[in-house]
Amino acid sequence: MSSKLRHFPFVLGTLVFAGFLLRALCALPPFGEYRGAYGPAILSTMEPLRHAQQAVASITFDYRGFDTLGEEFILFAAVAGGLLLLRRQESEAAHDPVDQSGDRGGIEPAPAVLGLGVLMFPFTLLLGIYVVLHGHLTPGGGFQGGVLLATAFYYVYLSGEYHDLLGMSRGHIVSHLEAAGAAGYVIIGLLALPAGLHYLHNLLPLGDKGNLLSAGTLPLLNITVGTEVASAFLLLIAAFLRQVLVIRREKKP
């Protein structure tokens, strides 16, 4: 189709679609007056039943914990797929990174960048750990904290030490951590089965509401997810960076 021809059916289809979608959305209960049963059911039961105070974490890891298991493995699949796709091909070779500008001898990060990187790295790492550990108490959790943790390692790259970053992910530790995080969620769910309970039953002691160790398995699940997410993003970032920085194409035969 030529581009003009392409536009005509698109605009027509879009108008019809948008019109009817808007009509449907306007037929919903009015905005700002949520009256569903699900939210109240959880808000009223999570404290007495689970000593939990953060409803979103409670839903993510307890009430609908099985969704999160699937979600974690979506990320896991994406990492396996991403690494599969970004593998080094036979026609490519790894080269040391070179400075594209050409008028400098080697790559020297500016002192300010290096300093800021050194400053930000531990700070972000700590923040990430905090967010993971307090996921069941405050906004945050394994996914958010895991991304923060991976970001911390991104500062390593930004301050010019990408050899360290690539070396870190080339070893098997990170991929083992990732697999352990993913498998850990499955195993924590299994704990309930010998007791005759259903999969993913929250059977650990519930503790006192608001404490770091409370709400049963929630902190543990947050940690497994945090581990998985952090290492997953680290692996992905490193794989993309390696494509850009290290892998060069050999001359075509």
Binding site: L22, F31, Y34, G39, A55, E71
Partner: protein, 114 residues
């Protein structure tokens, strides 16, 4: 203005889909997909919104406070993770394709037809 959130949902969706339909650059296309995806975040959140409601965390708030629906927030969280992972894969496709064909334009180097 109770229609406003829904109008923005539709706008985001259409902007994203238009971008995908006319894109000449795969990376642009992935971004457009993300824009379209964000319409679902907005719809989910607005469906569970309660006027005057606070965040659904029962720490140090009055006993009978109104709270917004936490379920849609959990769903949105899942949705965001899904969107991010899919775009990582899409970018990997785009990168490898660029290495092979030297172009990011989905209309260059026509794939199989018919």
């Amino acid at each position: 203005m109770t229609v406003l959130p829904y109008l923005i949902v539709i706008e985001l969706l259409l902007v994203g889909l238009y971008g995908i339909a006319t894109s000449r650059n795969t990376i642009h296309l992935v971004s457009c997909l993300f824009v379209a995806q964000s319409s679902t975040y907005l719809l989910l959140l607005s469906v569970g919104y309660l006027r005057g409601g606070t965040a659904p965390i029962t720490d140090e708030i009055p006993a009978n406070a109104r709270m917004v629906d936490p379920v849609v927030q959990a769903l949105t969280l899942t949705d965001i993770v899904v969107g991010a992972t899919v775009s990582a894969l899409l970018l990997a496709f785009a990168l490898q394709r660029h290495k092979l064909t030297g172009t990011l334009d989905p209309r260059k180097e026509p794939p199989q037809r018919g």
